[in-house]
Subunit: 227 residues, 2 copies
Amino acid sequence: MTVDLVIFTVRQDELQVLLIERGNEPYRRCAALPGGFVRDGETLDEAALRELREETALDGRKLHLEQLHAYSDPERDPRGRIITVAYLALGPDLPLPVAGTDAAAARWMPVSTALGGGMPLAFDHAAILRDGLERARWQLEHTTVAAAFCPEPFTVGDLRRIYEAVWGFKLDPSNFRRKVTRTEGFLEPTGERRFPEVGRPAALYRRGVASLLIPPLLRSSEFPVGR
Amino acid sequence: MTVDLVIFTVRQDELQVLLIERGNEPYRRCAALPGGFVRDGETLDEAALRELREETALDGRKLHLEQLHAYSDPERDPRGRIITVAYLALGPDLPLPVAGTDAAAARWMPVSTALGGGMPLAFDHAAILRDGLERARWQLEHTTVAAAFCPEPFTVGDLRRIYEAVWGFKLDPSNFRRKVTRTEGFLEPTGERRFPEVGRPAALYRRGVASLLIPPLLRSSEFPVGR
DNA sequence: ACTGGTTTAAGTCAAGGTGACCTTTAGCTA
DNA sequence: TAGCTAAAGGTCACCTTGACTTAAACCAGT
């Protein structure tokens, strides 16, 4: 029984996933999702938080963490029948530990690269990653978790770039602003402003108390093709 | 490692759940969700289908079946640490097996009764049932699974009564019809009609190919209170 | 054959959200 | 000062929604 983590962040306007290089067989030196065996007396949530700490040195309290799915194909692990429960974690672009620690093999990688086929992932981790991506896109549409990607405080533009990175297409800045600012509890104004290199200063916000987006952010029947 | 099944149906305009009476310790003679241990070489999906067959004699191919959540509290089973993966199954009001079989202890029971506290459920099955109910309500709003509750062919009124039973409040028949008939791929007309005891005959439909409701069925910000 | 009851089906309309687009504001830089 | 950029705010046609009304189709009772 193991847990595996699909940890997403947005860096350089691109959705990235945290991968480790496996140090042991099977799939030694192959890229994989962080994870490991569940210990006795531990819940799955606790195991996911522990692996997060051990393998990536990220602070789980700063991340949105939710159970994704259980994977149980008897052939999924050559060592034998090992069921894994995958977790989805969303968080801001956090610093990774420097070399020398357990988690030194952890790397951020664009999701498009990881799924591109150039470097296969260990086990069924590619399928898990695809499921995680699908869930994340759905969550952005129907909940306010997108704010979990933004280090506080953040601007409406920061939030919009999260959506654009995860969904893979541009949004109208004006309509996006109207939508998120009118959604009660999505954004909590701080009163502060951020002065960028160029352009008008932007108001800064914190995450609000709302968690559901009703109605969803997009009402169009389909995402643009080729996303 | 076990699987447990939250099997919902709508009978007598009420959402009901399939419960069994446990024959073994622990929680002997107590009501519980059907389920059992996963066998070697079996996926979780296969185990769920097998338990469905063994314990309820329902045909899994006629049901909508999806993974719900994994429950892992070390204290959830007095026999020791047993992780269970819960499945949600939605189906029409199917006949249950007669006495004499393995599944004779299976009974449909209104969800409101099962969660009412009058008869506690075994293990953490009350919490699992609550999660299943929440998921089912969400699914009805955002997908077309409600049709899985209806034996084919069915009428728009049949479908509306499903929503009313699961959500626990009345819907405007006229607006409901407009919504579902305009949703491409939700309903597939058969050309037939059903002649009820009283009232105008209703057109009969089959399930369409669509699976997502975009936008969701309700756009109101909240369900009526006290649902 | 008519009337009343019941359910399906279709129509009306004001209110409000959406998507596309435009204008103004506020800061920086050359 | 002009020019650039991004934020912030405004306009408007179109569509959906929710509440409501009207018509249609069938049955039962008189």
